[in-house]
Amino acid sequence: MAPAAKRKRADGRIWVWLSGASLLLILAMMAIIGFLVCANSFQVLWPSRLDLVALADGSVFLGFPMNGDISPEGLPRTRYKVGNREINSGADFRWIYEQDVVKRNHPQEALVVNRMENGDFYGFLKRRTGGRNESATESPEEFRESLVDFQRRWNSLAEPPRRRLAALGDAWQENHLAFLKAEYEMRRALTPDAAEMWKANLERSIEREEAVKTESERAMSLFNAIRDEFQAETAVFATADGTEISFPLSALADVSSPNDMGWTAKAWRFAVNVWNILSQYPREANTDGGLFPALLGTVALVFLMAVTSFPLGVAAGVYLREYARDGILSRSARVAVNNLAGVPSIVYGIFGLGFFVYGMGGSIDRLLYPERVAAGISTYGGGGIIWSSLTLGLLTLPVVIVATEEALATVPSEIRHGSLALGATRFQTLCRVVLPMASPGILTGFILAMARAAGEVAPLMLTGAVKSAHSLPLDGEWPFVHVERKFMHLGFHIYDMGFQSPNVEASKPLVYLTALILLILVFVLNFAAIGLRKRMREKYAMRGF
């Protein structure tokens, strides 16, 4: 071998290149993921231009160009989102060959109508009927204001009966449970007196059920009257080819005219869309609407998990490092903890289902609510946010324990001796010197574990996450935190929208958006970890050692 080549091999330059290339590859992949997620989410949020396309066969339609490619026959084509499901026989999308396109333009008055059901409608506003300003011809902007006004009126009138109905529903549910309990206890009563008492309770609840029923019917008819009155207010739209179609205003969520927007209007719209996504409930089997319950569920889950796993993990780590004698027992405990960190999360899910949900939850139900168990109703035994968070807590425990141990190990023994020599007990030394010094490491490990838990899905599917929860784990109703409730979760939401949805194609941008929000959540947690660690390091800096 030539000496120059030999030297080249010996100095390992090729390995430097290879390692650099590996890093580059990883960074490129991360950039691609980030770009994909951001670009696709942007598509949902940023109002893009609506095309009016005229085809060679004389037909016209309105739609958003999504993506283009070359067809298998070698012809360029574009996929349009055309909405108008009831007219286009349910299909949201349509491939258009470029050779068929006669003309494209962007009429300013073209409207995007976001509806409560059936997705988007693209068309032109004709007139409004019923209510005030009957048959008035309005500009899109005026119509938008009318719609907002309509929604305000509708909400102020319909909200009280709607809330009343919800309260009555809850009352019915509560009464039904009381009925079950009375029935159950009556059959089981040991003394005639007790049986008599439960019988009275039973009769009371039957009476009450009747009362609630009548009350509900009254509230329902009141609500229906309001709804019918409002339903008389409609708007007539025309599709691109002139077909007229009328919708009650109450079926519309929102209208916008993207072709008539300047940059500031678009930016404002973008902000409104972001807010809506974060604050609204999902609609139409999660393919439309917002992500609020999933976001709240995720955050609540992570915090509940933190409350259980942090003290437990830190305490265990402290015992292992500070108090346990170094022997076979403590060493095998350490090995077990490390192995636990490598257990697949679905296994934790199965454990959570078996131990927490069926075992603990089932026991609680049998102990406290035997009458519900007899009637096949589960309260704690059917999955809930508490069991999910405990399962996740278990999953993150090894990380917390290891982080705690390692952080404690970095505290020099001179410092501990210094404290002990001043007459401090081991516990005082631990609390006043060692733990504060170890806190940056402990917190970093813990928050990283939290970030990991926020993205975990598999164990949740078994222990309480659902595709659509009718109530939130946190609300204004006593006791505010409802740990037994099922919940929605961003990660599960992605899975549900992306793979279980009846209209996967329509929910695709929303899947990316959900992924983006989950990523942001994890980033925020990580940045919080970095910030916290920096502050702690400054406070308990070890300079001079």
């Binding site: 001179e414 001043l422 406070k539």
Partner: protein, 258 residues
């Protein structure tokens, strides 16, 4: 025994003290008396047991797995190794300064009052007074009085060691043990610590372990020479340095080993 070795003048008495680290015996039948109010230096080559003996005095050896002491060791006539003795109380009476300065990553103020705080002192004025008094005793007050609330980590190495002395002084111990307190410091800081020792003795009994024979000669009133776990010679510093009674002492002092 020389004159004046009455029970009043001796604060620590060891008699036939053996010490084991597991299987290994580190001290063999140590018998010595340490006098109240004087500075006593422990000298001897590395591994001779001087630090081990020092750590017997405040039972820091308890922290070592497999440590075992036999024989008699008393502080003011009380058995140091008695199971009834409160180690926490003992360590309050026998303070210690370590080889490597080990201030806590807290403010200067919190470092000084640490011993009082863990003893349950809450009274603000008492803590403030103790802080100032201790820092003055450690000749550090003038340098840090304007930044008591700042982190102690910003001080220099020599200041760190004086802070550790202030910390030990704050709990008003009877004895201050110093385990090679200057070995990690530069010459100027060393001089300061030595001056400090000279000033502190009288009020406190000082026991200093040192490798540096000049230092022992400069700061101590009495010197104990350890060799291979045994006490070789003990006496007034000037006498021991000028006319050592034993062969090994003379060899060590003249640098024939060390």
């Amino acid at each position: 025994m020389e004159n004046g070795d009455g029970p009043d003048t001796l604060i620590v008495e060891a008699e036939n003290l053996d010490f084991h680290y597991g299987e290994k015996q580190a001290l063999f039948g140590i018998g010595v008396g340490i006098r109240r109010g004087l500075a006593t230096a422990f000298i001897g080559p590395s591994g001779c047991g001087k630090s081990t003996f020092l750590r017997c005095l405040n039972r820091m050896n308890d922290l070592v797995d497999g440590a075992r002491v036999t024989g008699r060791l008393t502080l003011d006539g009380e058995d140091v190794n008695s199971p009834e003795l409160d180690v926490i109380e003992l360590r309050r009476r026998v303070g210690m300064v370590f080889q490597k300065p080990n201030p806590f990553p807290k403010s200067i103020y919190e470092n000084v009052v640490y011993g009082l705080r863990i003893a349950g002192v809450r009274d603000r004025e008492r803590l403030d007074a103790a802080c100032e008094r201790s820092l003055r005793r450690a000749a550090l007050w003038e340098e840090v009085k304007d930044r008591l609330r700042e982190s102690a980590m910003g001080l220099s190495g020599g200041q760190h060691q004086r802070l550790c002395i202030a910390r030990a002084v704050a709990v008003r111990p009877e004895i201050i043990l110093m385990d090679e307190p200057c070995s990690a410091l530069d010459p100027r800081s060393t001089t300061k610590i030595e001056e400090l020792i000279t000033e502190l003795k009288g009020d406190y009994t000082i026991v200093i372990v040192t490798h540096n024979m000049q230092q022992a000669a400069r700061v101590s009133d009495r010197t104990v020479f350890f060799y291979e776990g045994k006490l070789m010679e003990e006496g007034e510093t000037r006498r021991l340095f000028t006319s050592p009674g034993r062969r090994e002492t003379e060899d060590y002092l003249t640098g024939r080993f060390g």
